[in-house]
Structure formats: structure tokens, C-alpha cells
């Protein structure tokens, strides 16, 4: 176990090499500090096409901060984030989103006073100008896609309900419905299943598996180990901004030292 801590991510290259798809997003030596607190400490990580990577780590490990840097909500102090070979550092959030990187938020950030239907539809409208390209045909296509997404997420009956009036689980699924409406190649999901009951997260896992089968690349921050085991191809373990391990779920989750860090027992 000490070897893991000493060598960090390099300890599990054989496991990671099992997935040799195209590297869509490559993070290299990323650093970010808030004052004296280092929240991302020399992190390097690859997200490969069609792979589900789960970021695991105790609270304050820097998982969401990593997402915020990938999506342009925060600018890293140093290091590189490359999307299919091109740097995204310094680009605006909306430009990064349009490149094909979509995210959800831990606190959902739904468009609360818009209906469920509008929440999904607005994500699908590509331009910021007054009219969308493609005319009536494109508009009808968008409406059909919205209905299809709402059916799959179990929100069809609530299409005309305002987001703020939904129950908690429905709000979670609306957050998923919004990201499903994007044409993104990578989804960054920030605790998408937290607070869901068993039947809801089974539905969530089904949804995610269906999308992954289509070739989607997913990176999830999740604390629910059932979900982590149920969906992950790879797990990256972060603690205090540092990537401690990156490999197959079996290997990472069974590591007693990482478990000790995760569950707060430093004496193991």
C-alpha cells in the first residue's frame, strides 16, 4: 500500500492499460490552489472513449474542483487539460461545452422556474441568437427528442411542471434529462445518484448503462459504492487534491489503505 502512496497514479498502469480507447480528455500535471490550500495537486488523468471513470475520495478531496477546471468554471494555476489534442485551458465555459464536454452539478442548478420540458429543450437549442437554425424540421426533431428523453427518465407526466415543484428524485432525473439532451461526448456527473432510493438508482444505472453502450464517455463523482461498483470501468482515487490511485475497481476498492483514507481511519 505504501507503494501506492509513493508512486501515486503510476502504481496501476497494467490495470488502466486494459482500456486502450481513444483518449478524449487528457489532464496533465494540473495544479490549483485557493490561497495556501492546494486543492488540485499535480493531477494527471486520461478519460478514454467509452469508459466510465469514477472519482472517489473523501469530502474535500478536490473532485468537484477538478470538474470545475475541466469545464472552465475555474482556471488551473498550472498544467494542461487537452480535449482530443487541443487545450481547453482559458476557454470560456460555453466554448468548452460546445466542444462536447457536458456536466451536471451536485446542487443540480436546474432552471427552476421553467417547466421540465423547457429545461430539456433549452439545452438542445444550439445558438444564443434569437432564432435557431434548421427551421421547422429541426424544431420538430428537437420536440420529439425531448419527449423521448422525458419518457426514458420517467418525467413525461411532469412535462409541464416547473422544475421547482418537482420531488427530489424527479429533480435528479431532470438533471440527467438535461445532460442527455446534449450532444456531448463526455459527461461529467457530480454525485448524480446521491439521495436516491434503491428503485430510483436502479433506473439511474439502467439509463447510464444504455448511454455508455452507445459509446459515451462518463466521469462520475459518487459516494454510493453500489453505484461505483455497478457502473465503473475505472476508479480514480483522490485525497487532498492528489491522485493516489487510478485503476480497475476491484483493485482500487479492495485496497485497505485507500479504504482507510476514505472512511477516515488513518491508522490502518
Amino acid at each position: 500500500m505504501n507503494a501506492i502512496l509513493e508512486h501515486g497514479r503510476d502504481i496501476l498502469p497494467a490495470a488502466a492499460a486494459n482500456h486502450d480507447g481513444e483518449v478524449l480528455l487528457s489532464i496533465r500535471n494540473l495544479n490549483k490552489s485557493f490561497g495556501g490550500l492546494k486543492v488540485t495537486n499535480d493531477v494527471s488523468l486520461d478519460l478514454r472513449a467509452g469508459i466510465v471513470t469514477t472519482l472517489v475520495g473523501p469530502n474535500g478531496a478536490g473532485k468537484t474542483t477538478l470538474f470545475n477546471q475541466i469545464t472552465g468554471h475555474l482556471v488551473p494555476d498550472s498544467g494542461q487539460i487537452m480535449w482530443r489534442g487541443a487545450s481547453v485551458v482559458g476557454k470560456k465555459h460555453f466554448q468548452i461545452s460546445r466542444m462536447g464536454i457536458a456536466r451536471t452539478f451536485q446542487d443540480l442548478r436546474l432552471f427552476n422556474h421553467m417547466t421540465v420540458e423547457e429545461n430539456v429543450l433549452t439545452v438542445m437549442e444550439p445558438t444564443s441568437w434569437i432564432w435557431q437554425p434548421g427551421g421547422r424540421a429541426a424544431r420538430e426533431e428537437r420536440h420529439e427528442k425531448v419527449q423521448s428523453i422525458l419518457q426514458r427518465t420517467g418525467l413525461a407526466a411532469k412535462a409541464r411542471t416547473r422544475a421547482i415543484d418537482l420531488a427530489y428524485a424527479e429533480r435528479k432525473f431532470l438533471s440527467m434529462a438535461r445532460i442527455m439532451a446534449t450532444d456531448a461526448r463526455i459527461w461529467l456527473l457530480d454525485e448524480p445518484a446521491s439521495g436516491l432510493d434503491r428503485s430510483s438508482y436502479e433506473l439511474f444505472l439502467d439509463l447510464l448503462r444504455t448511454e455508455v453502450k452507445k459509446g459515451l464517455t462518463v466521469c462520475i463523482i459518487e459516494h454510493n459504492l453500489d453505484i461505483v461498483v455497478g457502473i465503473s470501468d475505472r476508479i480514480a482515487f483522490l485525497d487532498q487534491g492528489k491522485l493516489l490511485a487510478d485503476g480497475l475497481p476491484d483493485v482500487v476498492l479492495k485496497d485497505p489503505h485507500l479504504a482507510a483514507i476514505y472512511f477516515g481511519d488513518q491508522n490502518t
Binding site: 446542487d107 422556474h113 433549452t122 437549442e125
Partner: protein
């Protein structure tokens, strides 16, 4: 009596245009501007200047007023892109003060504190609109397109973009919305349509000065929107009618001391606002539920 009613109806139409355009940015884009009277003023001064020095044709005056107000609105758009919430309110207050200073000091164009007098009546294909009934029809003919334009825009993808930004700017960013462009366009559209009201006002009054474009006008417009229902299509019109009718209603209440009508009116406005915010925060037309703003209620 008829003249009084026509005058009131015309002023209601003009103020309704202003309330609708303020609601466009306040209710849908979440830009709480207290500088709306400035765009009203820019429209009025531009219209007066063009009418006095070039032509009083509404087909020239109104487009020019709209263009000038639209261009100057970029001054408001700039802080709107950088600051939010109470910080933007403070920035727009600064713009309001700045605008009033320019109106009262740029004597060669605005006439200074004395204002601009002798503005000719509106001209439509060589026909001067001098009759109050005709002017009311003209005001209605301006109000309807403004209402239609804002209504169509708000039902379009642009309206959804505005509402998305209002509800969660960071989520809008994350889903590829160019927030800077959308906010700028909303401010420009709002200012251009407010200038239509300014042009109508200049023609209607035949005289304008800075008194009509002060902070209290901006605050009154905001009250019209809030009382009627922020973020609703009909709310600003209902709010305008109510606030414009109140002074008249009070003056017919003979048991009230007529010399104190102004103060009573202010007390009534204040009370109405407080009670409305407690019992019906969405306004008269809006939802009775309180609006939880921005990125709350996750």
C-alpha cells in the same frame, strides 16, 4: 372629463411600453435595472432633437430614437455582464445618476434644465397627429407591437435562454449558452423598445425636460412591474394601469384632504408593495408562490 380620460389612457399606454420593456430584462433575464428612465429619456431627447432639426415623421424619428438608445444601452450591458444582483442594482443606479447629469448639463442638445420646447406633433405621411383621440390610437399602435415583439421573443428559444440565465447562470454557461451575448441582446432590445415610449412621450407632451427621467421614474416603473407580476406578460400592464389610476381614484375620494393627496398616494404605494411582497410575492398576475432566485433550491 373626456380629455382627462384620454390623457390618462395615453400615459398608461406610454408607461405600459416602459414597464413591458423593463420586465423583459428584469423578469426574464434577472437584470434588475433602476436606470430604465434613462433609455426612456434617450428616446425622448433623440426624438425631440430629430423632430426639431430634421423631420417629425414617426418613420424617421422612432427608428433613430431606437438606434441611439440601443447603442447607448451597451453602457448598461457592460456592468450587467460583470456583476449580478445587488451589485448590478448599484451599478445601474450610477448610470441613472450619470444619465440625469448629462440630460441636465448637455445644454446644446438637451436644453439643460429648461429642456426642449416646441416639439412638433408626430407626423404620419404628412398628417400631423394633434387630436388626443388620434394620439391615443397611435400610442395603442405602438403598445401592441411592443407587446407582440416581447411576447414572441419570450416564447422563442431566446426567451428560454433568458429564463435559463435568470434561474442559473452557471448552468446556462455549462450547457453552451453564450451568456454575454444573450444578456447584451436583451438589454439592447429592452432599451430600443423603451425609446419608442420616449419618442411617443416627446410628441405627446410637446415639451420635455430632465424631470421626467429622474430616479423616481425608474423606481415607479420597477414598482409597476413588481406589483403587476415580474416575469409575466400581462403583469406590467396591470401594474401600470393600477399605479396610473391610483392618483385619480384618490382625487375622487372627497373625504381625503386634497392638499395631502401626494403623500397619501406615496403611503398607499408603499403599503401596497409591502403587503404584496408578503402575501403575493409574484405580483397580481404572477404566481402566489415566492420566487426563489438564482441557484438556490437544489
Amino acid at each position: 372629463m373626456l380629455a382627462y380620460i384620454l390623457n390618462l389612457a395615453t400615459l398608461i399606454c406610454i408607461n405600459a411600453v416602459l414597464a413591458i420593456t423593463l420586465n423583459f430584462i428584469m423578469g426574464y433575464a434577472g437584470i434588475f435595472s433602476i436606470a430604465h428612465a434613462i433609455f426612456f429619456g434617450v428616446g425622448a431627447y433623440t426624438a425631440a432633437y430629430v423632430a426639431l432639426h430634421a423631420s417629425a415623421s414617426i418613420f424617421l424619428v422612432i427608428p433613430v430614437a431606437m438606434l441611439v438608445a440601443g447603442a447607448l444601452s451597451l453602457v448598461l450591458a457592460l456592468p450587467a455582464l460583470r456583476v449580478r444582483g445587488e451589485y448590478f442594482v448599484a451599478a445601474s443606479l450610477g448610470l441613472q445618476v450619470l444619465g440625469v447629469t448629462v440630460f441636465s448639463e448637455w445644454k446644446s442638445v438637451t436644453g439643460g434644465l429648461g429642456g426642449m420646447i416646441g416639439i412638433p406633433p408626430a407626423d404620419i405621411f404628412g398628417f400631423a397627429v394633434t387630436d388626443p383621440v388620434q394620439f391615443l390610437l397611435l400610442a395603442i399602435c405602438c403598445l401592441i407591437p411592443v407587446l407582440l415583439i416581447t411576447s414572441v421573443l419570450l416564447r422563442s428559444s431566446f426567451g428560454r435562454n433568458l429564463k435559463a440565465i435568470r434561474d442559473s447562470e452557471s448552468a446556462a454557461h455549462a450547457f453552451g449558452k453564450n451568456v454575454a451575448i444573450i444578456k447584451t441582446m436583451s438589454v439592447v432590445i429592452s432599451a430600443m423598445l423603451a425609446a419608442v415610449a420616449g419618442a411617443l412621450y416627446a410628441f405627446y407632451m410637446g415639451f420635455i425636460n430632465v424631470e421626467s427621467f429622474m430616479l423616481d421614474t425608474s423606481v415607479l416603473l420597477m414598482a409597476m412591474v413588481i406589483i403587476g407580476g415580474t416575469g409575466t406578460l400581462l403583469g406590467p400592464i396591470v401594474g401600470t394601469v393600477l399605479l396610473m389610476l391610483l392618483p385619480g381614484i384618490f382625487s375622487y375620494m372627497t373625504f381625503l384632504p386634497q392638499t395631502e393627496i401626494g403623500s397619501i398616494q406615496q403611503i398607499a404605494y408603499g403599503l401596497a408593495m409591502v403587503l404584496l411582497m408578503i402575501y403575493r410575492p409574484g405580483g397580481i398576475v404572477g404566481s402566489g408562490k415566492p420566487r426563489i432566485t438564482k441557484e438556490k433550491a437544489a
